[in-house]
C-alpha cells in the first residue's frame, strides 16, 4: 500500500516555513481587504442564525427557572431578554422563536421532552395554529434531536465570537453571492436591518430600512398566503387543536406552565388577520374551550405607546419597554 510521504526534494525547513508565512500573508491580506470592502458597503457584523445556534439555546431549557419564548419574528425581535430577567428575577430566559416560522412543532417537542418543566410563552396567532402550519419548525427540532453534537456545540460558541466581530463570516456575504451579483443580474446583497446576539436575541433598526416598504411587502405576502391556504372553518380548526391541549397538559403535569399570546400588529396586518380568522370565532374559542392561558393584544391596551414601523415589529430601541409592558400585563392578570 502506497503511503503518503513528505516532500523530499528542494525543500528544507526554511522553504517550508516560507510557504506557511506567505500563505498566511496572502490569506490575511485577502480577508482584510474583503472585510474592508463589505464594511464600506455598509454591512455590519452580526451573529447569524442557524440550526446550530437554535440548538445551542434549545439545550438550555432544563430547570424550573427556564422561561422559554417560542414563536416567530415578533417575539425574536420583540422580546428583550435582559428585561425578562428584571421583571422575573432568578429566571433563565431562552429564546427559541424563529424568523418566519410558526412554533407548533417546538411546542410539541418541548411537551415530549421530560427535561422541560419551566415556563413557556407561545407567540402564535390563529393562522399559526392552523394544522397546515404545525410543521414550520420541524426541521430545527429534528436537527436538535439527530445532529446536535458536542462538536457542534463548541464550534458554534467559537463561531459566535468570530461572527460578533467579522462581517465576512456572514454566509450571504460570501464570495460566491457577491460574484453572482457581479456576473449576473442578481441583486447585490441587501443591507440587513436586523442583528442577533449569541443568545438569539434579535434587534431591528428601522433607520436602515423603509418601514412602509416592509409593511407593503408583508401585506402582499399575507394576501398570497391566505389565498394559498384559505382559513378552515372555525369548527374544523378548533377540533384539530385537541392535541395542543394534551401537549399543554404534559408540560403542566411536570410542573411547567404554558401561556399563549398574540403580540400586537397594526394596519393591514391586523385587518387581514381579523378578516381571515375573526378573533371571537377562532382565538377566543381556542382559549376558552380548551381552558388555556391566553393573552391577545386585542384584549389589552398596554401597547398604545409602542410604534410598529412595519405594522408588525418593534424597533430595537423600544423592545425593552415592549417586553416590560407585555410581562407586567401578564403578571397583572395573574398569568405569570
Amino acid at each position: 500500500m502506497r503511503l503518503f510521504t513528505s516532500s523530499s526534494k528542494g525543500g528544507g525547513a526554511r522553504r517550508g516555513w516560507s510557504v506557511i508565512l506567505l500563505a498566511a500573508v496572502v490569506w490575511l491580506s485577502g480577508v482584510w481587504l474583503y472585510e474592508g470592502y463589505l464594511r464600506d458597503q455598509g454591512h455590519l457584523p452580526s451573529i447569524i442564525d442557524s440550526p446550530q445556534l437554535w440548538a445551542q439555546e434549545r439545550s438550555r431549557i432544563e430547570g424550573a427557572d427556564a422561561v422559554v419564548f417560542i414563536g416567530a419574528s415578533r417575539t425574536l425581535y420583540g422580546i428583550d431578554l435582559q428585561t425578562v430577567e428584571q421583571v422575573m428575577p432568578a429566571s433563565k430566559p431562552v429564546m427559541l422563536a424563529l424568523n418566519g416560522a410558526y412554533p407548533m412543532a417546538t411546542l410539541q417537542a418541548l411537551a415530549d421532552d421530560p427535561a422541560f418543566n419551566g415556563t413557556l410563552l407561545v407567540d402564535v396567532d390563529a393562522r399559526g395554529l392552523s394544522e397546515s402550519n404545525w410543521g414550520a419548525q420541524a426541521a430545527k427540532n429534528q436537527y436538535f434531536e439527530h445532529d446536535w453534537t458536542p462538536n457542534w456545540a463548541v464550534h458554534r460558541r467559537l463561531l459566535n465570537e468570530l461572527q460578533r466581530h467579522w462581517v465576512f463570516l456572514t454566509p450571504r456575504l460570501g464570495l460566491f453571492p457577491l460574484l453572482k451579483s457581479a456576473i449576473t443580474d442578481a441583486p447585490a446583497p441587501f443591507l440587513a436591518h436586523d442583528t442577533l446576539s449569541a443568545q438569539r436575541e434579535g434587534f431591528l433598526n428601522f433607520d436602515r430600512v423603509s418601514g412602509v416598504g416592509l409593511a407593503e411587502m408583508f401585506r402582499v405576502g399575507l394576501v398570497e398566503d391566505l389565498a394559498l391556504h384559505p382559513p378552515p372553518s372555525a369548527a374544523h380548526w378548533l377540533r384539530a387543536l385537541a392535541p395542543v391541549k394534551k401537549w399543554v397538559q404534559k408540560i403542566e403535569a411536570r410542573g411547567g406552565r404554558v401561556i399563549f399570546f398574540v403580540p400586537p400588529v397594526s394596519g393591514h396586518q391586523a385587518m387581514l388577520a381579523e378578516a381571515a380568522y375573526p378573533f371571537a370565532q377562532y382565538w377566543q374559542r381556542f382559549i376558552t374551550e380548551y381552558n388555556l392561558v391566553g393573552w391577545h393584544y386585542r384584549e389589552s391596551n398596554v401597547f398604545s405607546a409602542i410604534e410598529l414601523p412595519d405594522q408588525s415589529h418593534v424597533d430595537a430601541r423600544q423592545k425593552a419597554e415592549y417586553t416590560r409592558l407585555l410581562l407586567m400585563d401578564l403578571k397583572r392578570r395573574g398569568n405569570l
Binding site: F4, S7, W17, V19, I20, A23
Partner: protein
C-alpha cells in the same frame, strides 16, 4: 468531530502542541489515544464504550489466537472474532434494514409482521473501525503479523483520530511499526501536513459544500425528474461532490497524521481519469477496494477458477462492497452495477485480445468516456432517496425526448458554475492521472505554493455557507 469545524481546529492545535511538547514516546501515544477518544466523543460520547470494548476484546482474542500453533484451532478463534465483529456491525447498521425487508416479505405473503424496530443511531465510523480490527485479526490468523502485546498500541491503531471515522482503512502492517517506534519531528513533513489539511478543507468546504452540493441537492431532493439537462446537472454535481467530500476528508486525514509524524495510505489517485472499471477501483477509495480484494475476493477464490466462479466472486465482492456503504437497496444496486461493469470489462478485454486490438489513443479515449459515463450513472443510485427515484432519473438521462434546447438555455448560474468547476476537476485529474498529489506539491516553487495555499484559505474563509456532514461519516 468534523475536520471542517472550529472545534476541530481548536482541538488539533492543542493536541498537536501537547503531543510534540511531551518528551517521551509512550506519553505521546497516551496523548494521542486520549485525543482520539475525545475526538470520537465529540460526535456522540455514548458510543465511546462500544469502540473501546470491541477494540479491547479483539486485541485480547487476537493475542490468544496468535499463540495457538494449530491452524485449525486458530481458525475457530478467527470465526468467533469475525462473528462478533460482524454481529456488532450488523446490529447497528443492518438490523432495521433487514427487519423492514422481512416485514415486506411477510406482508406480501399475508403473514403477520415482526415488531422489531431499533431506534439506536448508527455509531459513526463503525464500518471503518470494524474493518481495521478484522484486517488485524485475519492477518494474525494468517501469520502475516505478530499480535502486539500492548493493548494501548492496539487501541491507538484502531482509534487514531485522523482516520477513525472515515478512513483511510489502515492495516497493522502499515501502522504497527509507526506506532511502535518514535516519530521524529520533521519540519518538511509537518508543513506538508498543514498544506494537505488546507487542500482537504478547500475540497470539502469550497468545492463539495459550496459549489457541488447545492446543485446536487436541488436535483436529488425534488420528486420530478422530467428534464434531461437538469438531471444530468444533478448527477454531475453529485459526482463532483462525493469526490471532493471524501477525498477532502482523506486529504485532511493524511495531513493531520503527517503533522503528528504518521504516514497514512493514499486513498485516491485521480479516479475520474480512470480508463476502465478495474482502473477506477485502483484509484477510488483504494484502502477499501484493496481490503475487499485481500480479505474477501481472494479468499473466495478470486479469478483462479472458471469464468463463472470468477464472475460470482466479483459480484459477491461488489455487492457486499455496496452494502458496506449503507443499509439500503440503492447501495446494493450501486455495488451490483459496478460488479456488472467489471464483468463487462473482462469480456471486452477478452474480445479485444482475441481480435488483436491493442490499446491506442482512440480506445483509451473511448474507454475513459465509457468509464466516466457509467460511474456518473451509478452515482445516481448511490445518492437517490430510493430505487424508484434513481430509475426515474437514469431513464430521463438516457431518453432523447427529455432534452430540449430551452432547458440548456435556462440553466441557472449555480449549475453553470458547477459545470465549469467539474470540467476543471476532470482536466486536473486527467493531467495528474499518474502523478500523486505529493509529486505535484513537490514540483511547485515555494512562492507559488504559498500563494495557492493563501488563496485556498481565503476562499475557505469566505465560503461560510451551510455546513454538511462528510458523506462518508454515515458509513
Amino acid at each position: 468531530m468534523q475536520f471542517d469545524s472550529l472545534a476541530f481546529l481548536a482541538f488539533f492545535l492543542i493536541i498537536a502542541a501537547l503531543y510534540w511538547w511531551v518528551p517521551a514516546w509512550n506519553q505521546r501515544k497516551n496523548v494521542l489515544l486520549a485525543a482520539s477518544y475525545l475526538f470520537y466523543a465529540g460526535w456522540n460520547p455514548y458510543f465511546l464504550p462500544l469502540l473501546v470494548t470491541t477494540s479491547l476484546i479483539d486485541w485480547r482474542l487476537a493475542l490468544h489466537m496468535g499463540s495457538i500453533p494449530s491452524q485449525s484451532r486458530r481458525k475457530k478463534w478467527l470465526i468467533a472474532i469475525c462473528i462478533m465483529n460482524l454481529a456488532v456491525l450488523g446490529y447497528f447498521k443492518y438490523a432495521n434494514f433487514f427487519m423492514d425487508n422481512i416485514n415486506s416479505l411477510t406482508t406480501f405473503m399475508g403473514l403477520p409482521n415482526f415488531s422489531f424496530q431499533s431506534s439506536v443511531a448508527l455509531p459513526i465510523g463503525i464500518s471503518f473501525y470494524i474493518f481495521h480490527s478484522l484486517s488485524y485479526c485475519i492477518d494474525v490468523y494468517r501469520g502475516g503479523i505478530r499480535p502486539t502485546a500492548s493493548w494501548r498500541d492496539y487501541l491507538l491503531y484502531v482509534a487514531f483520530f485522523p482516520q477513525l471515522v472515515a478512513g483511510p482503512i489502515v492495516r497493522w502492517t502499515t501502522m504497527g511499526q509507526q506506532i511502535e517506534t518514535p516519530r521524529p519531528f520533521l519540519t518538511d513533513r509537518f508543513i506538508v501536513g498543514i498544506a494537505l489539511m488546507v487542500v482537504g478543507l478547500f475540497q470539502k468546504i469550497v468545492l463539495a459544500d459550496g459549489i457541488f452540493a447545492p446543485v446536487a441537492n436541488a436535483q436529488f431532493d425534488q420528486n420530478t425528474f422530467d428534464t434531461g439537462v437538469s438531471v444530468w446537472m444533478g448527477a454531475l454535481a453529485f459526482t463532483g461532490q462525493i469526490f471532493c467530500d471524501f477525498a477532502g476528508y482523506t486529504t485532511c486525514a493524511i495531513g493531520a497524521a503527517l503533522v503528528l509524524g504518521f504516514r497514512l495510505p493514499v486513498n485516491f489517485q485521480s479516479p475520474y481519469a480512470a480508463i476502465g472499471f478495474s482502473d477506477f477501483w485502483r484509484r477510488w477509495h483504494i484502502s477499501l477496494s484493496s481490503w475487499l480484494r485481500d480479505y474477501l475476493y481472494i479468499p473466495l477464490g478470486g479469478n483462479r477458477g472458471s469464468a463463472s466462479t470468477t464472475a460470482r466472486n466479483l459480484m459477491i465482492t461488489m455487492l457486499l462492497g455496496g452494502l458496506w456503504h449503507g443499509a439500503a437497496w440503492t447501495f446494493v444496486v450501486w455495488g451490483l452495477l459496478h460488479g456488472l461493469f467489471l464483468l463487462l470489462e473482462r469480456g471486452v478485454k477478452q474480445f479485444a485480445d482475441t481480435r488483436g486490438i491493442g490499446p491506442s489513443a482512440v480506445t483509451k479515449s473511448l474507454g475513459w468516456c465509457v468509464t466516466l459515463l457509467a460511474v456518473v450513472t451509478a452515482w445516481v443510485f448511490f445518492r437517490a432517496e430510493d430505487l424508484g427515484s434513481a430509475v426515474a432519473m437514469v431513464t430521463t438521462m438516457y431518453t432523447v425526448s427529455s432534452f430540449a434546447l430551452a432547458d440548456l438555455l435556462n440553466i441557472d448560474f449555480e449549475s453553470w458554475w458547477m459545470l465549469v468547476v467539474f470540467m476543471a476537476l476532470l482536466g486536473q485529474q486527467l493531467i495528474t492521472r499518474d502523478r500523486p498529489l505529493q509529486a505535484l506539491v513537490d514540483n511547485l516553487s515555494w512562492p507559488v505554493l504559498g500563494v495557492m495555499l493563501g488563496a485556498m484559505l481565503f476562499l475557505i474563509s469566505t465560503t461560510t455557507g451551510q455546513t454538511n456532514a462528510f458523506i462518508y461519516f454515515q458509513f
